[in-house]
């Protein structure tokens, strides 16, 4: 493994993807260093969700390269990605509402060979999210929006991912819950070296927590810059974020 690949956990080169004839993503280039948080922001229809779906193989890229820790992910089936260390929490969070909290969480670690560590990871998630521990036997559809968020995030963490793809974690949640989620991401990054690629409409809270800000528009990356620069530079903000 080259030095380059250990420094940059995720490298995307010239990624083209979409659903029909006209691609949504047009030659995306993106680099996320290990142990950092990257926030992808942009208007509706910029291709943010499509980017995550292409990264995790839910849609097949028409061209380009996705490298995870230096390994090309092309042709890797979706269900294998979690074994490579990539966890994707989809938009709407994907809690399986017919299963209990405990079943949802266990599902996140079922693929692991190291059963003892899967058990430890499960306990850690219950420690991290107190409310889930109290509602182990409740069905997914009985949870509040905030609890679902915790469950989806916790379920991804049970797999001890290296890279976490998060699609709109703030969607439909109270500001206090959003702030808590963002703080948690930062905490995970500092404590466990987790790398996060976050897609957000909520530009302010995303850039507040991120190391790198990536602005997308109409299927292209228009600028990738340190988050604080995007946040604090008035000209950049006006030009790319519109506020």
């Amino acid at each position: 493994m080259s030095a380059d690949s250990t420094a940059d956990l995720l490298v995307v080169r010239g990624l083209v993807a979409g659903y029909g004839a006209a691609p949504v993503l047009q030659a995306i280039d993106l680099t996320v260093p290990a142990g950092t948080i990257a926030a992808v922001v942009g208007a509706n229809g910029a291709g943010k969700t499509t980017l995550l779906r292409a990264l995790s193989g839910m849609i097949r890229p028409a061209a380009g390269q996705v490298l995870l820790a230096g390994e090309d992910l092309r042709g890797t089936p979706v269900e294998q990605l979690v074994r490579r260390g990539m966890a994707h929490v989809p938009e709407g969070r994907g809690v399986i509402s017919e299963l209990t909290v405990d079943e949802n969480l266990r599902l996140g670690g079922l693929w692991r060979r190291d059963r003892a560590d899967a058990g430890r990871a499960l306990d850690e998630v219950y420690e991290l999210f107190e409310p889930l521990a109290r509602r182990r036997r409740h069905l997914g559809h009985q949870l509040s929006g905030g609890e679902r968020q915790m469950l989806a995030l916790g379920r991804a963490l049970v797999g001890r991912p290296r890279l976490l793809l998060l699609d709109e974690p703030s969607l439909g949640l109270a500001p206090r819950v959003v702030a808590r989620t963002m703080a948690l991401l930062r905490q995970l990054r500092d404590r466990t070296g987790l790398t996060v690629l976050l897609v957000e409409q909520n530009v302010r809270s995303a850039l507040a927590v991120a190391d790198q800000g990536v602005v997308m528009s109409l299927g292209r990356v228009v600028i990738a810059a340190p988050a604080e620069k995007l946040r604090d530079d008035v000209d950049l903000r006006h030009a790319y974020l519109g506020f």
């Binding site: 839910m58 269900e79 074994r83 399986i96 509402s97 017919e98 299963l99 599902l107 079922l110 693929w111």
Partner: protein, 292 residues
């Protein structure tokens, strides 16, 4: 009163078979959203394999075991070779393909074995034991109850308590999310087909000796009854399928005992129609519908 006891036990014994067959339909419906109309024909095919093996070796139990294995394999085969390649955007497509499979399987069985009834032996006596002068149940009835009890509780345990059961439920409810969590959804679907077809083969092995014998169409009426049982229970509910199977078994037994056996096919259809009109979701329909 004696007659009532006899009819009740006979009904429960047939009902247990319908329950197993309905459970097989529910398994596939939950996993693949397909009503497997070919299940009867597939089960008969497995029973013919058992017949061949038993005839060659002289061992009923070897044939019985081979029937279960043949059922499992046939289910996996039908999924991998046929159903996987059917466009599921319209619910009608897999139904038509399944009906085509029925014709194909029955035609092949007819060509190989001939369209005649072949006697199917029962491994235990079918004459009822009497308790205090009342004919209660036969050793064969006991065998049916025990086998189906073991299979139903085994399946319930598997789905509720084992990792593979959790994977199968997750794959059925949310295939896309399950794939993201590392579940081999396609494999779970094949496993679901195999299990269902295996249970179907078991039901065929149990019911055929109580009817006219082995014939390519031997399971046609059983299929209609089991389908009714599954609808009565709500196609989505495994416990509903079991209760529905027992209800249909009892109903048919009473109708044939008190009103005449010619009326039983009619009674099944009347029940099916009534449930569809009054409570189309089945008696065990969940309170809220799932939005897809």
């Amino acid at each position: 009163m004696d007659r009532f006891v006899f009819l009740t036990i006979d009904g429960l014994s047939r009902g247990a078979v319908y329950a197993a067959f309905a459970l097989a339909l529910v398994l596939i419906w939950r996993a693949a959203r397909v009503v497997n109309f070919a299940q009867g024909a597939m089960a008969v095919a497995a029973a013919y394999v058992a017949y061949t093996v038993s005839a060659a070796t002289g061992s009923y139990w070897l044939g019985f075991a081979v029937a279960l294995v043949a059922g499992l394999l046939l289910g996996a085969l039908v999924d991998r070779v046929v159903m996987r390649h059917v466009d599921h955007t319209s619910h009608l497509n897999p139904v038509i393909v399944a009906l085509g499979l029925v014709l194909l399987i029955q035609a092949v069985l007819g060509m190989v074995y001939g369209n005649e009834f072949r006697p199917a032996e029962a491994p235990f006596s079918r004459s009822a034991l009497t308790v205090g002068g009342v004919a209660v149940l036969s050793p064969y009835d006991l065998f049916v109850f025990a086998t189906i009890g073991v299979v139903v509780s085994g399946l319930a345990w598997m789905f509720a308590r084992t990792p593979v059961g959790l994977r199968m439920r997750a794959a059925a409810f949310a295939p896309e999310v399950s794939r993201l969590l590392g579940v081999n959804v396609g494999g779970m679907l094949t496993l679901g087909w195999a299990l269902a077809s295996g249970v179907g083969a078991l039901a065929a092995m149990l019911v055929i000796p109580t009817e006219l014998g082995l014939h390519p169409h031997a399971m046609d009426l059983v299929f209609v009854s089991a389908f009714t049982a599954a609808v009565v229970g709500g196609l989505d509910s495994p416990p509903g399928a079991v209760v529905g199977g027992l209800v249909v078994g009892l109903l048919l037994s009473y109708v044939s005992g008190y009103a005449g056996s010619d009326l039983t096919p009619l009674a099944v259809l009347v029940l099916l129609l009534a449930v569809l009109l009054v409570r189309p979701g089945g008696l065990f329909a969940p309170v809220t519908a799932r939005r897809v």
